[in-house]
C-alpha cells in the first residue's frame, strides 16, 4: 500500500531564494508527522506546496499514490487534503456552526441539509465547543477560533490534515488542552502533518519528524533521536552556541 503522502525532490524558489530545496519524505497512513526547523526554514512553504496554495517548481507530491502537485488548491482539497493556517483564518461574518459547515460542503465530503448541521455540531463538541454553535466567531477567544478552524479542517474528513503552528500563541493551560485534542484526532486514525515550534508538543505527539533548515532536509527520523542530533541543535541555536 502506498504512503498517505509522498514528497519527492520538491523544489520551490522565490526569485533568488530557494525556500524548499529538493525535499523528499513520506508520511504513512495514521502517522502524526512533525515538520520542524528555525523560522524561515521553509516549513510553511512546504505545507503551501502540499495544499496547492503554491505550485512546486520541480518534484512530485503524491496523495495515496496519485499525483497532486500541479493541481489547483480546490482540487487538492477535494481529493482529501485539509489545512489550518499559521495565523488563524475564520470566516468573520459567520457563526461557529457555519464556519465548520464550510469544510464539509464542497470538499472531500459533500453534505447538505440536516446531515451537515448534525456534523458541524458533532465536530464543535469534539473540539470542546458544545453549545457554542451560534456564537459569532469574531466574538470568540483566540483558542476558540483555533478550535473552530480545526473543526472546519476535519469536517471534510481529510486523508491528510496539515496543521500550521496550530499550537502557537496558546497559554500553558490552553497548550495542554490543544495537545490533548491533536492526540485525540490522531487516535481516530487520521494522518496529520504538523509544523510546530513547541518542542514539547512534538515530543509528546509525533513518532517521527523532519527538520528543515534553509529549505533543506537536515535530519529525519524518530523524534528523540532527531532532537538530540548535533546538527539539529546547531540549526536551532546557531554555530557559536552549539
Amino acid at each position: 500500500m502506498s504512503a498517505a503522502l509522498s514528497v519527492t525532490t520538491v523544489r520551490k524558489s522565490f526569485g533568488g531564494l530557494v525556500a524548499v530545496n529538493d525535499l523528499s519524505f513520506e508520511v504513512e497512513r495514521g502517522e502524526l508527522y512533525g515538520l520542524i526547523g528555525p523560522n524561515g526554514s521553509g516549513k510553511t512553504t512546504m505545507l503551501n506546496l502540499i495544499s496547492g496554495a503554491l505550485q512546486p517548481d520541480a518534484g512530485e507530491i503524491k496523495l495515496a499514490g496519485a499525483t497532486i502537485s500541479g493541481l489547483a488548491a480546490h482540487r487538492i482539497a477535494r481529493l482529501g487534503v485539509a489545512r489550518t493556517f499559521q495565523l488563524v483564518r475564520v470566516l468573520p461574518s459567520m457563526d461557529a456552526e457555519r464556519n465548520v459547515m464550510a469544510g464539509a460542503v464542497f470538499g472531500h465530503r459533500s453534505l447538505w441539509g440536516a446531515e451537515l448541521h448534525e456534523l458541524a455540531r458533532e465536530l464543535l463538541a469534539l473540539v470542546g465547543l458544545r453549545g457554542r454553535e451560534h456564537v459569532p466567531v469574531v466574538a470568540m477567544t483566540y483558542i476558540d477560533q483555533k478550535r473552530v478552524e480545526l473543526a472546519r479542517a476535519i469536517a471534510s474528513d481529510p486523508q491528510v490534515l496539515l496543521l500550521d503552528e496550530w499550537l502557537a500563541g496558546l497559554n500553558p493551560s490552553e497548550l495542554a488542552i490543544g495537545i490533548e485534542l491533536i492526540e485525540r484526532l490522531s487516535r481516530q486514525g487520521r494522518t496529520i502533518i504538523m509544523v510546530e515550534h513547541v518542542m514539547d508538543a512534538i515530543r509528546t505527539l509525533c513518532g517521527r519528524c523532519l527538520v528543515m533548515s534553509s529549505g533543506r532536509l537536515i535530519k529525519e527520523g524518530g523524534v528523540a533521536e532527531v532532537l538530540s542530533d548535533p546538527e539539529v541543535v546547531r540549526a536551532y541555536l546557531g554555530d557559536d552556541d552549539a
Binding site: 496547492g52 488548491a73 480546490h74 485539509a82 489545512r83 483564518r89 470566516l91 468573520p92 461574518s93 464550510a102
Partner: protein, 323 residues
C-alpha cells in the same frame, strides 16, 4: 399566534404580496406616477441583479451598461424578425456570454483592475456597435416600433424584478450562495475548502449579466429610437452602483431600499435642475460613501445592534440597583 407559513417561506410570501399590489398601479394612473414606477422597477431589477454578484464578492462591476445595451440592441435589431420574448431571451444569452468572457479574463485579478476593466469594456462595446452601425447601415440608430404601452413595459419589468428576487432567494439557500459567502469572507479559505472560486464567480457574473441584458431588452420599446450613446450610456453603470450601495448589498432587498428614494429624488432633480443633474449625482455619491459606507441597511443594522446593547445595559443597571 397561529403560524401560517414556516419562517423561511414568509419573506417570499410577503414579496409576492408586494408584487401583486405593485402590479395594480397601472389601473390607477398611466401618466407621471406610472413613468416614475417604470424607472423604479427598472433600477430595482438592475441593482438587485448587479448585487447578486457584487454583493457577496465585493467586486464592483461597471459593465452594467454593456449588458444592458446588448439587450437593448438584441430587440432593436431583431424586432422585425423574431417574437419579442425570444429577443429578450436572446438579449439575456448574449449578455451572459459576454459576462462569461469578461469573468474568465478578469476575475482572477484583483478588485481594482476588475473595476477599470469593466468600465473600459462597456466603452469598447459601445464603440464597436457605433462603428458597425456606421459601416453597415450608414445610420447611427434604429427605430423600435411595438404595440407595447407603458403599462406593458411596467408589468414585464415587474415580472423581471420578481424573477431576480426569486433567483437571489434560491441562490442564498443553495450551495452556490453558501460558497459565495465563504468567498466573500476569505477567498484562500474558500479554495482550501474545495471551492472552485474562479468558476463560481464566473457563473454568478453570468447570471447577473443575463438579468441586466433582459432588463435592457424589455425597456428597448420605451426608447422608440435606439442609438449607442443612449443604450450603452455609462451613467446607467454608475447609477446602479450608487443606488445599490446606498441601499446596501448585504441583504437581497438592500438595493431596493436605495432605488426607491434615489429614483424619486432623481426625478425631482432632473425636473427642476435639468442642467445640473450630473453635479447633483456626483455630490450624492460622495455623501453616500462618506456617511453610509455600508448603505442604509448596514446603518440600520448598526443602529439596531446599538439599541439592543443599550437596552441590555439598562436592564443590567436596573437589576444592579434593585439588588
Amino acid at each position: 399566534m397561529t403560524r401560517f407559513l414556516p419562517d423561511e417561506f414568509r419573506i417570499p410570501a410577503i414579496g409576492a404580496g408586494v408584487i401583486v399590489l405593485a402590479a395594480l398601479l397601472p389601473l390607477f394612473d398611466d401618466g407621471f406616477y406610472l413613468a416614475m414606477a417604470v424607472n423604479i422597477v427598472l433600477y430595482a431589477a438592475l441593482c438587485t441583479a448587479w448585487a447578486l454578484f457584487s454583493g457577496p464578492t465585493h467586486y464592483i462591476s461597471l459593465a452594467t451598461a454593456a449588458f444592458f445595451g446588448l439587450g437593448t440592441y438584441a430587440v432593436a435589431l431583431g424586432n422585425e424578425l423574431l417574437p419579442f420574448p425570444l429577443l429578450v431571451a436572446l438579449g439575456a444569452a448574449i449578455a451572459a456570454v459576454l459576462a462569461g468572457f469578461v469573468g474568465a479574463a478578469t476575475l482572477r485579478i484583483s478588485g481594482v483592475y476588475f473595476v477599470i476593466f469593466t468600465l473600459g469594456l462597456a466603452e469598447l462595446v459601445r464603440q464597436i456597435v457605433s462603428w458597425a452601425q456606421v459601416k453597415w447601415s450608414t445610420r447611427m440608430g434604429l427605430y423600435v416600433f411595438t404595440d407595447f404601452t407603458e403599462a406593458h413595459i411596467y408589468w414585464m419589468l415587474l415580472a423581471l424584478t420578481a424573477a431576480v428576487f426569486l433567483t437571489g432567494w434560491l441562490i442564498n439557500r443553495s450551495r452556490l450562495g453558501f460558497a459565495m459567502q465563504i468567498i466573500g469572507n476569505d477567498e484562500a479559505v474558500a479554495r482550501h475548502c474545495g471551492i472552485d472560486t474562479a468558476r463560481l464567480k464566473i457563473i454568478l457574473f453570468m447570471i447577473s449579466g443575463a438579468f441586466i441584458g433582459m432588463a435592457g431588452a424589455i425597456v428597448a420599446p420605451r426608447y422608440l429610437y435606439v442609438a449607442p450613446p443612449s443604450a450603452f450610456n455609462p451613467t446607467i453603470s454608475f447609477l446602479v452602483v450608487i443606488m445599490a450601495l446606498l441601499g446596501g448589498t448585504r441583504w437581497l432587498w438592500g438595493p431596493l431600499v436605495g432605488v426607491i428614494p434615489f429614483t424619486i429624488v432623481m426625478e425631482f432633480v432632473s425636473a427642476n435642475f435639468p442642467n445640473d443633474t450630473s453635479i447633483v449625482i456626483g455630490i450624492v455619491f460622495l455623501v453616500i460613501v462618506y456617511v453610509l459606507p455600508d448603505g442604509v441597511t448596514g446603518r440600520l443594522e448598526q443602529l439596531l445592534a446599538r439599541m439592543r446593547r443599550t437596552s441590555t445595559a439598562s436592564k443590567a443597571a436596573t437589576v444592579k440597583e434593585a439588588a
